[in-house]
């Protein structure tokens, strides 16, 4: 998979994963199924990262997204038990889903046109970036953003804990 020098047949597979998973994620009635759709998509994207010889990002995708974020979302579903209550997109507002399709399709198509028209020339795949270099960047030029993201994470966690505690006290 790391000798990519063109379009790999696996690309098709991953694309199918992405599209089908994404469709399930936005269309499924049950939220847990939507979540499984999301998981499939995440795997597809991870596969694409692998195709682009960026295994670090691919594994991080699985570790963070699949291993942590989806689990969190699952927890949210479980705690609020919204699976049956969720009536999905089709019930009631046809107008709204029409609007949604319109908005999504419009912006996507415009962007697609831009992408196709003004895409810079692609170069053959560069050799895999070493972990060491990534690390140097993260502590060098990216240090500030790295710190920022950790602060954001910390604040988010503290905030979540605080919110959770407020709930217990309220009772």
């Amino acid at each position: 998979m790391d000798q990519l020098s063109g379009i790999h047949p696996a690309y098709g597979l991953y694309l199918v994963l992405i599209i089908s998973g994404g469709a399930v994620a936005v269309l499924a009635r049950s939220l847990v199924r939507a979540l499984s759709g999301l998981i499939i998509t995440l795997f597809g994207v991870a596969g694409m990262y692998l195709l682009m010889a960026a295994p670090f990002i691919a594994f991080m995708q699985i570790l963070i997204y699949v291993g942590a974020v989806t689990v969190l979302i699952f927890f949210a579903i479980m705690l609020t038990r919204t699976s049956e209550g969720e009536s999905g997109s089709e019930s009631g507002s046809v107008g709204r889903s029409f609007l949604g399709i319109w908005a999504a399709a419009f912006s996507t198509l415009v962007l697609a046109a831009v992408v196709v028209r003004h895409m810079p020339k692609a170069i053959p795949l560069k050799p895999e970036a070493s972990m060491g270099r990534l690390g140097e960047f993260l502590t060098g030029p990216f240090a500030l953003s790295f710190e920022l993201i950790s602060v954001v994470l910390f604040v988010a966690m503290a905030g979540a804990v605080l919110l959770g505690f407020e709930r217990r006290k309220a009772k």
Partner: protein, 102 residues
Amino acid sequence: MNYLVLYHLAALILFGLGLYGITCRKSLVGMLISVELMLNGAGLALVASSRLTPALDELGQLGTLLVMGLAAAEATLVLAIILIVSRRFGTTEIADIATLKG
């Protein structure tokens, strides 16, 4: 059409699906899932751009990494908010929570 475009189109599809989900999903959790889809699209585009153009390689990868970190933080916070909302309103459907009462 070169393969950079292909990756970008895949990213765009994710973005479009996410956008559609955000507008049409009725529950907060559904919207969160859609947001994750869009974030993934962004990440995919970033990595593709950095890997397949002369741009700095690490830039895209680290950018995506930061996006992932953000997504995790966001998910944590949204989870807490969803919990609060569901406790207070008994539902997580946005239509029911739209009233601007405290």
